[in-house]
């Protein structure tokens, strides 16, 4: 194993003699180049539009999508932590293509003893090994995870031939499945459920000291991969990080658990009377009208009673879910269940929270309310939440989403005490995971390929939802500057957002925080909320229950706003560049009627004398040799050439409304950063008043390094600040002010510290 203990870097200063030599060399013939403009359109990066994914960013008239329906019988064996399933899959080939085989995802194989996930993860020895870990890793006792496939048969009971490649299984069809046809087959399987607290899985069980387990079961059944005309079959392996690409369909699922378990899942319970006690069922029904506050379906007392013993009898929960892309469930004796109804234009959606007593009092205070808030804010930004419920399960160290249901961490300490950090973390994770119902559960992008399309977009709406829930705990002011640290980091550790998820450095910043910060900036600063919100909503509505690609998002945002944002997508999503804009120089000009040298040159060029120039005013810079002190107090109106013009062309009334600026400032902005961005300038005047001016990013069109603007002013400017509210993720603010502010963050802190 490679162990680097010392990193050595030597920096050699470029010698000045070398530099001089270069300058004296003969002029090298200049080379031509491709279009390297930052404003070049994205036509070469984006896929060619077609009749499925159109140039406007909308689904086309030939857009098709497969449908897969599942009927499953599941048995949860709590005694041995095993799960057994029999499923009937109905695959609808809605495409125009004939299919020879189907690809089925076997995500659990990521945890099989021969999983390649371990083989590809590098790194040195761990700081320490618990005996369990040591045995597992080095002594030939790995966890026996992964799917055991009992059979795969067609409807007549004939075995189907299949081949398993790690987490993907190819099921060969007896004859090609023609366009518009369906194929029905059955799979029987089982696997050992993992202790996710030990192996950090996204599903599994959490063991409690009282001997009870809390199950969060997901990626638990063989699921069809997506087939479309973007990727063909999306059969990239599941390595454990980049998530899922799944088809929509209907699920009819029955789950058998110990009789004293409480369970919720994707979909609606079809037999509440059989699985709840009479009292619970009554509360289950009456909760549907509790719009103002959460009420219990399973009380803390009932949960406490249930966890005391283990009932070996069983019961069967029946669920039906319509138009979902996946199915997950959570089950435990320990669950308390509270519920609140949320109204969406006359349609009732239930917000449910299931948690063990260890989650209280935090969970009963916040979880269900956070769900309701999240559904409301996201619905305003997209479309009304279309599913019957949204459920938050308290599972320690988790944050993972499935249709209608998600696992969320965050618990108080043993004494039920928690601080603001715990509360904030718990509210944050619930908002995030419930928010995933919209992206990618409904606006169903390909997570395996593009993590940012669900995580980044979701993290952006999450910002708005958290702020709505508690503006003090979740202030907006930290966005987008929160991403500066990441973006100014070592380029070797950065990847463009447009990188397949498994190949990304710094996953969290790359796929969550940076796209979220970018969209935040787009909304607040570049497009403005009105234009952004409409375009964003258009994207969500167009691709609701469909499979959008990055191009569909980029194109729709422009299609619905008439804003050319190709420069933004190119810089923020396709490169690792960062933004750094500075104010390089400020020059003050005064007005004169005496032709300047520049004017004389102009006259010369046209072959006329200075006297032949039309009557004009001229600007003289304070530092030029043509400047004289007498110009200082002069107003433009003092010059007869302007005065005469005003007399001849305007009435006295009109003249009264005209106001000539007294000073003219030449502002030179430079841009050490790679990205193009709007320049936001704050002018502070001698009298303390302030004014803002925002120049669009297109100001950099013809010069990527430096631009100059003339700013007329009736007052003397005392201070200029670029991006005063840190809205553009400027990575170096030391060049953002004039006069230059040389004080560092450190100096500032030290000064205040001494002051005391």
């Amino acid at each position: 194993m490679k162990k680097i203990t010392l990193a050595i870097l030597s920096l050699v200063f470029l010698s000045s003699t070398l530099f001089a030599q270069e300058n004296t060399q003969e002029k090298v013939r200049q080379k031509g180049h491709y279009n390297s403009s930052k404003f070049k359109q994205l036509d070469e990066e984006l896929p060619t539009p077609n009749k499925q994914h159109m140039a406007s960013g909308a689904p086309g008239y030939e857009y098709t999508q497969q449908q897969v329906d599942y009927k499953m019988t599941i048995i949860l064996d709590d005694e041995n932590q095993k799960i057994f399933g029999e499923e009937t899959i109905t695959y609808h080939n809605n495409s125009k293509d004939a299919l020879d085989y189907l690809w089925v995802q076997l995500d659990q194989n990521m945890r099989a003893p021969n999983s390649k996930t371990n083989d590809v993860s590098g790194g040195g020895p761990d700081a320490l090994y618990t005996p369990a870990k040591f045995t597992k890793m080095f002594m030939g006792k790995p966890f026996q995870g992964g799917f055991n496939i009992d059979y795969i048969k067609d409807v007549n009971g004939n075995p189907l031939s299949y081949m398993i490649n790690f987490t993907m299984m190819r099921v060969d069809l007896p004859k090609p499945l023609a366009a518009g046809e369906k194929f029905i087959f059955n799979i029987k399987w089982w696997y050992n459920i993992n202790d996710y607290m030990a192996d950090r899985g996204r599903s599994g069980y959490e063991p409690f000291p009282d001997g009870n387990n809390l199950y969060i079961i997901a990626q638990f059944f063989p699921r069809l991969a997506v087939y479309n005309n973007v990727k063909g079959w999306q059969n990239l392996q599941f390595w454990g990080r980049s998530e899922f690409a799944l088809e929509f369909g209907n699920y009819d699922v029955s789950i058998t658990t110990p009789k004293d378990h409480i369970l919720n899942a994707t979909g609606v319970i079809q037999n509440p009377k059989e699985v709840f006690t009479k009292e619970q069922n009554k509360r289950y029904e009456s909760s549907k009208t509790s719009f103002d506050k959460p009420v219990f379906i399973v009380t803390p007392e009932e949960a406490l009673e249930a966890e005391k013993s283990k009932n070996t009898a069983t019961k069967t929960w029946k669920f039906y879910a319509e138009n979902v892309r996946d199915f997950a469930f959570s089950s435990s004796r320990k669950f308390i269940w509270d519920a609140m109804a949320v109204d969406f234009n006359g349609k009732t959606v239930m917000a449910y929270s299931l948690y063990p007593k260890e989650g209280n009092p935090l969970w009963e205070e916040h979880s269900t309310r956070v769900i309701a808030n999240t559904l409301k804010v996201y619905s305003e930004s997209t479309f009304d939440y279309p599913y019957p419920h949204a459920t938050s399960i308290n599972a320690e160290r988790q944050g993972m989403e499935y249709p209608m249901i998600c696992w969320n961490g965050g618990r108080p300490d043993e004494n039920g005490k928690y601080n603001d950090r715990t509360k904030k973390g718990m509210i944050g994770v619930i908002t995030h995971e419930v928010g995933h119902n919209f992206f990618p559960m409904i606006v169903n992008s390909d997570e395996r390929e593009w993590t940012w399309m669900d995580e980044g977009i979701n993290s952006f709406v999450e910002i708005l939802a958290e702020y709505k829930y508690d503006p003090e705990l979740f202030p907006l002011s930290k966005y987008p500057k929160n991403i500066v640290g990441y973006m100014s980091g070592d380029q070797d550790q950065l990847s463009p957002i447009m990188t397949q998820g498994d190949n990304v450095f710094n996953f969290g910043s790359n796929a969550y925080a940076k796209p979220a910060a970018g969209l935040f900036m787009l909304r607040q600063t570049i497009m403005g909320p009105e234009m952004f919100d409409h375009a964003f909503k258009t994207y969500a509505k167009r691709w609701k229950f469909k499979h959008p690609t990055p191009a569909d998002f980029f194109r729709t945002m422009e299609d619905a706003s008439a804003m050319d944002l190709d420069w933004f997508w190119r810089g923020w999503f396709y490169t690792t560049g960062n933004n750094d804009i500075g104010i390089k120089e400020v020059k003050k000009y005064h007005v004169t009627d005496k032709p300047t040298e520049q004017a004389e040159n102009l006259a010369k060029r046209y072959g006329i004398t200075v006297d032949q120039l039309p009557p004009s005013l001229y600007l003289v810079s304070e530092d030029s040799k043509e400047y004289t002190d007498d110009l200082k107090g002069k107003k433009p109106e003092d010059y007869t050439v302007l005065n005469n013009y005003l007399q001849d062309n305007f009435s006295a009334e009109e003249k009264a409304t005209l106001k000539a600026p007294k000073y003219f400032y030449e502002l030179v902005f430079d841009k050490p950063g790679d990205l193009v961005m709007p320049i936001i300038v704050e002018f502070e005047y001698e009298d303390g008043s302030k004014e803002r001016k925002q120049y669009p990013a297109e100001i950099w069109r013809l010069n990527d390094n430096e631009v100059t603007k003339v700013f007329p002013s009736s007052k003397v400017i005392s201070k200029i600040t670029i991006d005063p509210d840190e809205e553009t993720a400027d990575v170096d603010t030391s060049n953002n002010s004039w006069p230059k502010n040389t004080e560092t963050q450190f100096d500032n802190f030290k000064k205040n510290q001494i002051k005391g």
């Binding site: 203990t5 870097l9 996204r202 904030k424 929160n482 990441y486 796929a511 969550y512 030290k750 510290q753």
Partner: protein, 178 residues
């Protein structure tokens, strides 16, 4: 990418998938994070002959480490915070953050600390550095408790910037100027 808490089983937010959000610490103020990272910004200010250091940690990570080390609860950044916390911080940093300047161990002064949302920032200063020929930084903060801890060091000397990503198997960075 995922962090695993080996020592403490205290309440703690760890999100498998809510991978979050921050990477380099100064500005990242996300409520939940999955990455275990600190940022140490080091700048040599020639006019002042001083090395200015700002090191940022996530409060929750540091709290777990300090609680483990001292077997008590410090309630960082709350009104129940231990009275002698300054001392505890200084002691921890002196043990886990070491500087060698021009091949000699260099002592820093503890200027102060500030809490900012999820972060705590420490301001440290090494005065009287007439000329900077080499600087070596050893950072072992938090790696005992968080095996995936990454300690990022950003060094700025005049116009030169260098970033080191230190981990449990690589705890030192050295920068030489010729």
């Amino acid at each position: 990418m995922e962090r695993f808490l080996l020592i403490s089983k205290k309440e703690f937010m760890k999100y498998q998938k809510y991978v979050i959000l921050l990477i380099i610490a100064p500005l990242l103020a996300f409520s939940v994070h999955k990455y275990y990272i600190s940022l140490c910004e080091v700048e040599y200010v020639e006019e002042k002959k001083s090395v200015q250091i700002i090191i940022s940690h996530f409060i929750d990570d540091l709290e777990i480490t300090l609680n483990n080390e001292h077997k008590k609860d410090f309630f960082l950044a709350t009104n129940k915070e231990a009275k002698n916390i300054q001392e505890i911080y200084e002691d921890y940093l002196h043990k886990h953050l070491k500087f060698t300047i021009n091949q000699k161990p260099a002592q820093y002064q503890f200027i102060g600390k500030e809490y900012d949302d999820d972060l705590v920032r420490f301001y440290l200063e090494i005065p009287n550095v007439q000329k900077l020929n080499s600087i070596e930084i050893e950072n072992t903060c938090l790696i005992k408790d968080f095996e995936d801890q990454q300690n990022i060091i950003k060094i700025k000397v005049k116009k030169f910037n260098k970033t080191f990503y230190l981990t449990k198997s690589n705890v030192k960075g050295l920068l030489k100027f010729q």
